[in-house]
Structures are given as structure tokens and as C-alpha cells.
């Protein structure tokens, strides 16, 4: 039965309690004299020393039990305690045993005083922490290894990224040089086939007229392709610095450039309030030009109605160009932004399939995203984002 408060079992004396303590606590417990010779040790320590009786350790010292290195350190610590009266608390120390195996112990040692308070030796307790240290060490090694892995992987990714960036830059340069240099011989082909057509149309025979017509058409389409390719590659090589501009102005520029096709189609273009953004003015105007131009081009039998708007949404502007045209099947919603992708036969809608690729590249360069929301027969809304201008402290 538990009684109220802590009370010792009636039979147990201090001596008996100490005996239990020394016999059964699995830590190394030791009392030493002023010369660091053992006075009493716990059974656990005796077992470690290979002694069957703890009493056999009396009069011996660490020098008899450990390597000199450890014994000297322990001796120095104990002499310091005796000299100063200051304990050593939870010191982690390596113990090298005579058979060479090493353990780690967390050691606390205090001065041992007689009744008058005079220091007559030391008393200490050492707990084996080899396992914990090993686990800690393993954890540390593992962490180090992980860090090395992450570092290596990061370096690899950086390398791959740099390689990709430089190969992209090379590709862009190639596209630019190729399209630029191809223009010259192509101009010859186009000019002379056109000259042939002018001079000899109707003077040879029907076959010749047809052949010439195909040659003229092919050359002029190739010229258009190369022009488009050139303007695509110029986006990266000859882009201007991004600056604070009114997107409204860029949009108006695009509408001005489109006035002929707007008049021809009778299109109605409504432009909402558009924000100030950080952008390349020429490229933003081209972006609006391509999107509004497409909205007019891919019209159905109705008069094109086009709505340009912008709304703020979590740190970015979402611009939209909405039309009431033929719409696009959702299957093609991502493909249309790739280079040279066309959904319609040339006879129906002309073009090289580069306009939206240019749009995507422009939006990419401005740190935004472009996509389309559309259903066939229900018009299309092209949306793109541009980050909002960071507000500076006033």
C-alpha cells in the first residue's frame, strides 16, 4: 500500500540503499581518493573492467584499466576538481579500453568531501552513450550525404539549365542567321518567277501557266514563312528593355495597324480600361495585333465583335481578347501556340501558323502565361497575364 508522501522501506539503511545503487545501476559509478585511486566502484564498472568482485578495483587507478591517453585526461580532470572544488558535468569523453575497443561516456564528477568539508577525493558517474553517439554520427553523416547529393543534383541541374539556355540562344541565333541569309536567294527565286509570270503568262501553254503559278505561290509563301521566322527569332535577339508603359497605347497602336481589316470586316473593337505594365512596347503592341488580328480573321458570318479587357488577379494582370468568331475545339487549345501549327487549310484561312507562337514567346518573355478559352461556334477568348508592377514604398 502506498502511504502518504515518500517514505523509505523500514528495513533499508543508507548503507543498504547505497549497496543497491552500486550493485544494480548499469552506469559506471566510482569513488576515488585524492590520487585518483578507486575506493569503491559499481558492479557494472567492475564487469567492464573484467573483475568478478568490485573490491578487486580498490587501490587501482584508470592507468591500470584504460590506455594512458584516457587515464591521463581523467586524472587531470579529477585533480582539477580537487584543486578547485568545481565539478565536471556531462562531459562526453572517449574511453579506450585495454583490448583496444572504444566507447563514449557522458561523465559527471564532483568533489568528495569529508564531514568537515575537506576534499578527500572525487565521485563520478559515467553513462555509456556510444550508441547515441553512433546514431548521432550516422544521422550527421546521412545529412551530410544528403546535402552532398542535393548539391550535386543542383549543380547538375544548373549545368543542364545553362546548356539548355546556351543551346536555345544558339538555336535562336541560327534561326535568325538562317532566315536572314535565306531571304537573299529566295528573293531571286521569287523575283524571277514573278518576272516569268509577268512576261510569259499566256504566251506558252496552259501547263506552263500552271507551273509558273505554283512556283510563284510557293516562293511567296516561303517568303512569308521566312519573314515570320525572322520576326520570331528577333523577339529574343532584338527585344527592347522592359519599361513602364500604358498597355492602352500598345493596344491602340495595334488597332491602328489593323484599321484596313477592321474596315473591311466591319469589326467592332471595344477596348476597356487597360493598366500600366512593365513591358516591351513594340512587343506588347505586336501581341495585341496578333490576337485582335486573329479575332477578325477567324470570324464567322456575323460581324466580328471584339472585347479587349484587363482585370487584376493575385499580383498579375489578366488581359483578355474575346471574339464572337468560329471558336476552337478544346483538343487544339495548347497546340495552337506551337510553331507552324495550323488548324485550317490555307485556302480558307491564310497564314504560316506562327502568330500565336510569337504571342506565346512575347508573353513568356514578360513572365506571364497565355491560354485560350473557347468552344467551336461560341467564339474564343485569348487570355494572357503580365505581372503587376511591384509597389515601391512611398
Amino acid at each position: 500500500m502506498a502511504s502518504k508522501g515518500a517514505s523509505r522501506p523500514e528495513t533499508a539503511t543508507d548503507q543498504e540503499l547505497l549497496e543497491v545503487f552500486l550493485q544494480h545501476i548499469p552506469d559506471d559509478i566510482y569513488f576515488k581518493d585524492r590520487d585518483s585511486r578507486f575506493v569503491r566502484i559499481s558492479r557494472a564498472l567492475a564487469t567492464r573492467f573484467g573483475l568478478s568482485d568490485p573490491a578487486d578495483a580498490v587501490g587501482k587507478s584508470d592507468f591500470d584499466m584504460f590506455t594512458a591517453e584516457h587515464a591521463e585526461q581523467a586524472f587531470a580532470d579529477e585533480q582539477e576538481i580537487i584543486r578547485t572544488g568545481r565539478p565536471v558535468v556531462a562531459k562526453e569523453e572517449k574511453e579506450t579500453w585495454p583490448d583496444g575497443h572504444e566507447t563514449w561516456a557522458s561523465t559527471t564528477k564532483v568533489p568528495l568531501r569529508d564531514r568537515l568539508g575537506k576534499i578527500v577525493g572525487t565521485v563520478g558517474i559515467s553513462r555509456d552513450v556510444t550508441e547515441r553517439r553512433r546514431a548521432q554520427h550516422e544521422l550527421h553523416e546521412y545529412k551530410k550525404h544528403l546535402e552532398e547529393l542535393v548539391a550535386a543534383r543542383t549543380a547538375e541541374l544548373t549545368r543542364a539549365n545553362n546548356a539548355l539556355a546556351s543551346s536555345n540562344a544558339e538555336l535562336e541565333k541560327f534561326a535568325y542567321v538562317a532566315s536572314h541569309d535565306l531571304q537573299e536567294p529566295l528573293r531571286m527565286v521569287a523575283s524571277y518567277t514573278q518576272l516569268l509570270a509577268r512576261r510569259y503568262q499566256g504566251k506558252l501553254d496552259a501547263d506552263a501557266d500552271e507551273f509558273i503559278a505554283f512556283a510563284v505561290d510557293g516562293a511567296s509563301r516561303m517568303q512569308q514563312l521566312i519573314q515570320d521566322l525572322l520576326s520570331y527569332s528577333r523577339l529574343a535577339t532584338q527585344g527592347q528593355q522592359l519599361e513602364l508603359i500604358e498597355s492602352q497605347v500598345a493596344c491602340n497602336t495595334a488597332v491602328m495597324d489593323l484599321r484596313l481589316s477592321i474596315e473591311d470586316s466591319g469589326a467592332v473593337v471595344n477596348i476597356g480600361t487597360l493598366p500600366t505594365v512593365r513591358a516591351d512596347p513594340a512587343q506588347l503592341a505586336q501581341l495585341f495585333l496578333n490576337l485582335i488580328g486573329n479575332a477578325i480573321k477567324y470570324r464567322n458570318e456575323h460581324t466580328p465583335e471584339i472585347q479587349v479587357a484587363a482585370r487584376a488577379e493575385s499580383g498579375r494582370w489578366v488581359f483578355s481578347v474575346q471574339d464572337n468568331g468560329i471558336g476552337i475545339d478544346s483538343r487544339y487549345h495548347s497546340r495552337i501556340f506551337e510553331m507552324f501549327q495550323r488548324l485550317h487549310p490555307r485556302e480558307k484561312y491564310s497564314g504560316t501558323g506562327i502568330g500565336l507562337a510569337i504571342c506565346k514567346k512575347i508573353v513568356d518573355r514578360h513572365g506571364g502565361r497565355i491560354w485560350v478559352e473557347s468552344r467551336p461556334g461560341h467564339g474564343s477568348t485569348f487570355l494572357f497575364t503580365i505581372p503587376q508592377i511591384e509597389r515601391t514604398a512611398e
Binding site: E184, R187, M188, A190, S191, Y192, Q194, L195, R198
Partner: protein
């Protein structure tokens, strides 16, 4: 060839372009005589009646391409305009380059006008007609 034919010197290294220009001026309203040289060194020899060009006729108009072998059109232009005997001949720079620095440098060297060759044939023919009607019939040049 009528002695009153207008003399044009075309400095152009691309035979295709040279022929195209020749064709364009062949359709012209004015009787003209187009001579073609293929590089800058020959152009200056022609103008100074040196070597094989001892008997060349002083042109009324020079059509000058910029990118030429041996001596390029920019240098040819500078030499013409620095030459007391040649500097009054109108020089029309006719080139594929639309680079701003080329335009600026050409006018800086006193080119009389700068034209970027149009890619389209019809436009090219119109340009040739414009050159003819402006430089060879509209403007009054020193005789």
C-alpha cells in the same frame, strides 16, 4: 544607242539583282544605258576612266549597292563624294540592308538617297520607275 541616252552606272555584285535592275530600267520610259560593275574597285576605275574603263562614259546617275567585294559600297560612296570631279553625280544607295547605321552612315557620306530593295518584284519595278522619274526627269541636275 542614241547619244542622248541617259547613262546609269549600277554597282552590284549579284548578277541576279543586276539583271533584275536592268529589266526594270528596260521597261522605263526614258532611253537609258545601264552599265554594270561588280565591285567597288571596278566602280571607281569606271568613274575615273582607268584601265579597261578608259573609254567609259561619265554616268548621270549611280546606283550603289553597299555590300560589295574588294571595296564595299560605303567606301566607294565616301570616295565619290570626296572627289571634286565625281561628287555632283547623284548616288542612289540601293541595298538589301535596312540597318539604321547603314542609312545614317550613307547620308552622312552625302548619299543623295537611300532605298532598301523591296522583296516583292512589283514593288521593285515601281522603285526603279520612281528612281527614273525622279532623278532622271523631275530634278534639275548640274550639266
Amino acid at each position: 544607242m542614241n547619244s542622248k541616252a541617259i547613262e546609269i552606272l549600277l554597282v552590284e555584285d549579284n548578277p541576279g539583282d543586276a539583271r533584275l535592275t536592268r529589266e526594270a530600267f528596260k521597261d522605263g520610259r526614258l532611253l537609258n544605258n545601264l552599265s554594270v560593275v561588280g565591285d567597288g574597285v571596278e566602280a571607281l576605275a569606271y568613274l575615273r576612266q582607268q584601265g579597261q574603263y578608259r573609254n567609259s562614259t561619265r554616268p548621270d546617275l549611280i546606283l550603289l549597292d553597299l555590300n560589295l567585294p574588294k571595296k564595299d559600297g560605303r567606301e566607294v560612296l565616301e570616295e565619290i563624294k570626296a572627289d571634286e570631279h565625281l561628287k555632283r553625280i547623284p548616288v542612289v544607295v540601293l541595298t538589301t540592308s535596312s540597318a539604321q547605321e547603314d542609312v545614317a552612315r550613307a547620308y552622312g557620306s552625302h548619299a543623295n538617297c537611300y532605298i532598301t530593295k523591296p522583296v516583292d518584284l512589283d514593288q521593285f519595278l515601281r522603285v526603279a520607275q520612281s528612281i527614273e522619274s525622279f532623278w532622271l526627269s523631275l530634278v534639275k541636275l548640274p550639266s
